[in-house]
């Protein structure tokens, strides 16, 4: 008898409060997972960067010694410099993607198939892209090598030249990234307001002027997204470096993400603390961009609601 009445009580209590409680109950599993695997590890990495640790034995507190070492580390500066080159050159994906999108934004027979095939490089994994370009650049018989040889008389083994290797890898990375930006712009172009274009055309605007003053402002959401994914892609570049050169020759194609991995898990011994300090630097660089993006998203959110 008593259990029945408590049951009824909890039930009515639940009924009254369910609108308040449901969101928390629904959030709990997702938040726990995300906290444990993403948010807490960020702080742990900051903490670990103050230790000398091989991943197995005791941790030894060394304060800022890892960072001090970093600032005298030639390889760190090479990686940092390469990251900047990546960031700058990767941005080419945005205008290039826009260019291809404009080229393909027509209604002719078979255009849908063309659009999907142009998008194709984005679907395949970066490991496969890396292998494809390693073959493309291969000395003596690679297609690229042959073309250069035909044009200049002597071929270049891009991936073996310390001065050129990073550019070679970036070119491989641009291939899927341009495809991604293209699909964003194709969707954007599909949704521009035809009346505004007609009005501008009646006023005599055409070509680049029309693009710059009428079309691009309407494509702003697509441009924002393209810039976000491209910046993140540039700073996350790891797969291609690992597959195509393993950081070489002589470490000249390392980027921070790769150098961090190398230090923390290389065959020369695990330096988890030192690796964590490199990760912290990369994270801080990324934070500059992330805060910018988030700030803009919050701003849009306020305007939207």
């Amino acid at each position: 008898m008593s259990t029945v009445s408590t049951n009824a009580q909890t039930r009515s209590w639940w009924r009254e409060n369910q609108q308040k409680l449901t969101p928390y109950i629904f959030l709990i599993p997702g938040i726990i997972f995300f906290m444990v695997y993403v948010i807490i590890p960020i702080f742990e990495s900051f903490w670990l960067s103050g230790f000398d640790w091989d991943g197995l034995g005791d941790k030894e507190w060394v304060g800022f010694a890892n960072y001090q070492e970093l600032f005298d580390d030639e390889a760190f500066y090479t990686s940092l410099k390469n990251n900047i080159i990546w960031l700058v050159l990767y941005m080419l994906a945005v205008p290039a993607g826009l260019g291809i999108a404009i080229f393909l934004n027509q209604k002719v027979a078979g255009i849908r198939a063309y659009k999907s095939l142009f998008f194709f490089p984005f679907v395949i994994s970066q490991v496969v892209v890396g292998l494809i370009f390693a073959w493309f650049y291969a000395p003596n018989f690679g297609l690229f090598y042959k073309i250069i040889e035909w044009a200049t008389g002597s071929g270049i083994a891009i991936l073996a030249e310390p001065d050129m290797v990073t550019y070679g890898i970036i070119a491989a990375g641009l291939w899927p990234q341009i495809a991604y930006c293209m699909i964003l712009y194709l969707t954007g172009l599909n949704n521009v307001d035809p009346e505004q274009i007609e009005a501008a055309r009646l006023d005599g605007a055409k070509g680049l002027k029309l693009l710059w003053y009428v079309i691009l402002p309407q494509l702003r959401p697509a441009t924002f997204l393209a810039v976000v994914v491209t910046v993140i892609g540039a700073l996350r570049s790891f797969d291609l470096v690992s597959i195509m050169t393993d950081g070489g020759p002589f470490g000249s194609s390392r980027v921070l993400s790769f150098y961090m991995y190398e230090q923390a898990l290389s065959e020369y011994g695990y330096r988890m603390g030192y690796g964590a300090s490199i990760a912290v630097i990369l994270f801080l660089i990324m934070m500059v961009f992330i805060s910018g993006f988030i700030w803009k998203m919050i701003d849009d959110e306020r305007k939207g609601s």
């Binding site: 609108q19 928390y24 997972f33 695997y37 590890p41 990495s45 002719v108 994994s125 035809p194 990760a279």
Partner: protein
């Protein structure tokens, strides 16, 4: 429409465009076409210097060699063992979080939302050492389960962003009407909102499938042996073994790329809808 439709231009321009399209496509896919041709060349062609010409005969045996001479079948199976649980786990978690953040107004809503969004942007390296350490301590290091658990957690960030924005765009009257009828919140989720989320679920399943299938970094950090490694990490190992046997490397690369490619062509509409979310207002 921008640019001006080609049909409104001269006959010459129209023909020119039709000719230019396939040429541009071939140039764009040139590296891929090269690898596809290499993958069906007999080894003797490569040995005799026939790198670009047509294969002297079609050697589909390269593909058979890849499967019999390497653990690629196992690698692919491992990839499925990581990818499919990740897709399911992520969808379950993000349907819940997306519903909570998209429907209810409560203190901290926007804060929790932006925690998911921001976490989704961080460089993987800042998570690497602690996640690896935790996976080792859980006894899940070098298992597909350990890898899938991490992926589920990380992808929940992106999927929450997606689901929440999708649910916010649903007509609120439906939910209000159900509440007036006295339908409980959990039933609203199950019978009213979830059926409407089908397009979002479809879009996310193809996207997550592709992202996880193509993941290489976490595969190398959390798995080490042929019994557990997904095909991306496996391909790296095989590339080391098959030095200069480009016909095998090419065939292996194509096999590894096939599942996401098939997924893309089968569910293209959903894939692109997912990827371009937010590209238009």
């Amino acid at each position: 429409m921008f640019p001006r439709p080609i049909q409104q231009r001269s006959q010459v321009a129209q023909v020119g465009y039709q000719v230019l399209l396939p040429i541009a496509l071939i140039l764009w896919l040139l590296p891929l076409i090269g690898v596809a041709i290499t993958s069906v060349k007999p080894a003797s062609d490569l040995a005799s210097g026939n790198y670009f010409g047509m294969p002297s005969s079609l050697a589909f045996s390269n593909y058979a060699d890849v499967f019999t001479g390497s653990p690629i079948g196992q690698y692919i199976w491992n990839s499925f063992k990581v990818t499919i649980p990740t897709v399911i786990g992520t969808l379950v978690l993000s349907c819940l979080t997306g519903f909570a953040l998209g429907i209810y107004k409560f203190k901290g809503n926007i804060l929790v939302f932006f925690m998911f969004v921001a976490g989704n942007f961080v460089p993987f390296q800042i998570l690497m050492v602690p996640v690896r350490d935790m996976t080792v301590n859980l006894g899940l290091y070098n298992t597909t389960t350990g890898l899938a658990l991490f992926h589920i957690a990380f992808q929940t960030g992106f999927c929450t962003l997606f689901m929440r924005n999708f649910i916010r765009a649903l007509p609120r009257e439906l939910i209000e009407a159900a509440r007036v009828e006295g339908v409980s919140e959990i039933r609203i989720f199950w019978y009213v909102v979830l059926p409407l989320m089908r397009p979002a679920i479809a879009a996310l399943s193809v996207l997550i499938f592709t992202f996880i299938w193509n993941d290489y970094f976490w595969a190398t950090v959390l798995t080490t042996s042929a019994e557990t490694q997904p095909v991306t990490a496996g391909l790296y190992a095989l590339n080391g073994q098959w030095i200069a046997q480009w016909q095998l490397v090419s065939a292996g690369a194509i096999v590894a790329a096939l599942p996401p490619v098939a997924m893309f062509f089968l569910m293209q509409k959903h894939f692109i809808a997912g990827l371009t979310l937010g590209a238009v207002k």
